[in-house]
Assembly symmetry: C2
Homo-oligomer: 242 residues x 2
Amino acid sequence: MRYLIRFSYDGTSYNGFQKQKRDKNTIQGKIEEALKYINNGKDTKLTASGRTDKGVHALDQCAHTDIDVNITPYKLKRALNSLLEADIHIFSVEEVDNEFHARYMVKKKTYMYRINMGEYNPIERNISYQLCRELDVDKMNKAIKDFIGKHDFSAFCSNEDKKEDCIKEIYDAYIKKDNNTLYIYFTGNGFLKYMVRTMVGYLIEIGLNKRDNDIKERFKETKRSKIRTANPEGLYLYKVEY
Amino acid sequence: MRYLIRFSYDGTSYNGFQKQKRDKNTIQGKIEEALKYINNGKDTKLTASGRTDKGVHALDQCAHTDIDVNITPYKLKRALNSLLEADIHIFSVEEVDNEFHARYMVKKKTYMYRINMGEYNPIERNISYQLCRELDVDKMNKAIKDFIGKHDFSAFCSNEDKKEDCIKEIYDAYIKKDNNTLYIYFTGNGFLKYMVRTMVGYLIEIGLNKRDNDIKERFKETKRSKIRTANPEGLYLYKVEY
């Protein structure tokens, strides 16, 4: 039986989402360990909507898995949560048919990036980027709209992605301000490695008056521009839609 | 020279504020270690507005200290922050006269308590109480007003405080709701051990319809009532006023 599992996690203590050969300290590694235990000791793969980098969080990550043993979604959810540490939380499990694929069938993904412009806050140091400088939010608000649409994001991603198809579509992008905290949202059909953190880094440089908005020019480039990659701790996989 | 030091901290990794004989893993212990280093190796005491329990946070804790070496407030702030871990942050240092006392001269203190009524959030598990149940906020809003005023809080504190003067005055108490999160604020002239967490525990029981508001009756009691003490991770020392 195939299950769709939805979960949230605090990425602080993990080396990213994706399982690595010699390093089991990843979100995927931890969940697969629990799945194996539930699935009578059989190696059980978890296929997620995509990976997240070291230190990045998720409020709604989605993945599918195939389990041989007979278990209700409710019991699978409870069993997983009882086996996992407090920094990973399964909040929904449902049966899906065998055609369902958590990666290939994604329609939309939303990422959120959180920035503290105020005094350094030790309590939020791992869950919000402590920029601790004022940003010109009006300027950033104008610029962010240029990301919306179908573009070649080669300038705004890791160079590792060069060979991949860097044409992605951003459906929506906006900024919410709450006192000294900015929440930047991007919804799109897919995101390249470091793409959100690079777009945020670019917007931060605009907000600090360190560059003018030339996003439309950048879309003509074929490799990554010199742009700061914003820290991982501010980034959240916010929503995955099928 | 006497200095007033204002600082914030994430209490998660510490055994409370107050230094203990055999345990240096306290906020006070860590700051005194840094002060000693700055003060040419001389044992240097930090006198705070009051202690906070294990796991409790502070957004604005205040303390005074006496330093022999000649150092500007700005340099003392920088030196402390460079010596301290990322979960303690000194945000202000000022010279005060030798009469100033960070504990005895407190006029008002404000505590904030944060509750998540929604789905368990692993990202905020150490900085917000994960109650994960709906509360009747209207009922709580009505009840909380009964805490305001000068009362005997014997029923709402640790029994250890029995001998102390349990008459305290609450100047203001109110609840803010933001989606699934409640922020409960108490401002008063002083707080007994576990007092805020007990008042919050009482309000939670009201919000869960597990008890009716009989706060005025409780004030007549001379020892602690059977009330749940709300978890430490939701509690923040929010402001200290002189």
